[in-house]
Amino acid sequence: MKHAFAALFAIAHREALRFLGQKGRLVAAIVRPLVWLVVFAAGFRAALGLSIQPPYQTYIQYETYIVPGLCGMILLFNGMQSSLSLVYDREMGSMRLLLTAPLPRWWLLACKLMAGSVISVLQALVFLAIAAAYGVSVPWFGYLAVIPALFVAALMLGALGLMLSSFIRQLENFAGVMNFVIFPMFFLSTALYPLWKMAEASPLLHDICALNPFSHGVELIRFALYGQLAPVSLAVVLGALAVFGAAAVWGYDPARGMTARKA
């Protein structure tokens, strides 16, 4: 037990040191959603009228609407990026060092996942603080309630990245996956437009958005920001976490998974 937590702490510490060492990554992680908030949302506000819908109790500005989606964007990019570092780690050998530690492999992967998720959540909180300074704020208790929601969503997206990293051998392939995973996941979700708006455009798009686990991550965050729980979204996010996590453990299993295949 003590050993397992020593490893968890060490992996998280390493992840944090590496993250702080890559200043560019922090800046990019914060600037990306800010650009959307300040530039994109301002332009879009005129084009898109939003009616009253839960959890909002009044008409809202478009900026207010997309803040949870942009939190999701941070988690999504970060989840993919930390698994990008996993692919890189494996090529550089550090992953070997990790996987030869005398601990259950699923635990080592879980440590990696939790460490990456903590970093994601901290970034999202920094973004929320800057958004508040910009004038898009939520009730004070929302900032507390959102922490577990962010963490669960970060775990789900991190597990997705982990799963992908176990099936992808080279960095070049990973760039492709970013385009085929990140963009569809983000645009076909409730991050930028509410579901009813999608339904007006196309019932098919509406259905895809409604099924996208990323939508549920965003909705979980959106409701949590107003101190409310979105039970269906929570269930979907936890279910997706279980599926992605199990697939990642399978992918990294020495006997069956992709590590048994040579580059």
Binding site: H3, A10, P104, P254, A255
Partner: protein, 237 residues
Amino acid sequence: MSGLKVTGLSHAWGAKKALDDVSLSVEPGRFCALLGPNGAGKSTLFGLLTGLFASRTGRIEIAGQDMARHPRAALARMGVVFQQPTIDLDLTVRRNMLYFAALHGITGAEAGRRADAALDRLGMAERAGEVARALNGGHRRRMEIARALMHGPSVLLLDEPTVGLDAGTRRALTDHVHGLADEGLTVLWATHLTDEVHPGDRLVVLHRGRVLADGLAGEIGGADLTERFLEMTGAAA
């Protein structure tokens, strides 16, 4: 009890057979050189020995622990130096050591003590505070060997540890690890360079996934191990 025992191990990458019924056994405290040209299957064997992937046929025992049934017990008794560097270049040498220690359940003052002792042993004590990126290739390797010994393993596996190093550094590292075997550590040293093998070493020649020779290096090699090695692997080609 054996330091390291491999029985009937085979492994294939798709249709290509990388290891074909490989058996070898190294007694405790022996230096065993695993000699083979590139593509002989050395890295596949190391992948299996370290549990990165598993094979359905054959058996691996590390210090008496079955790799398939008790992988964690086997890993705990094993120190590994991989062919590729496994260092966090942006962290200090000491921080690299402590990270590894924690993965093996060693923390706090004990971890610090062991890191210092291991670095001191490899003549790296004064570099503990340096960022790993500042080290040259030889020192990086030394750090990795020091790190692999931190948890007090009884078996040390090294996969072509001298790749990319100059002749002097190569000699120094080879001699040092021979010294470790004299102190009682079981060593498996994979290489394709015959000059790293001492006449008194145990020698296993691997070629195209098969064991071509297994015995005392001096006896297998005769007067000139290099010639003999080229002859053996050339003839089999």
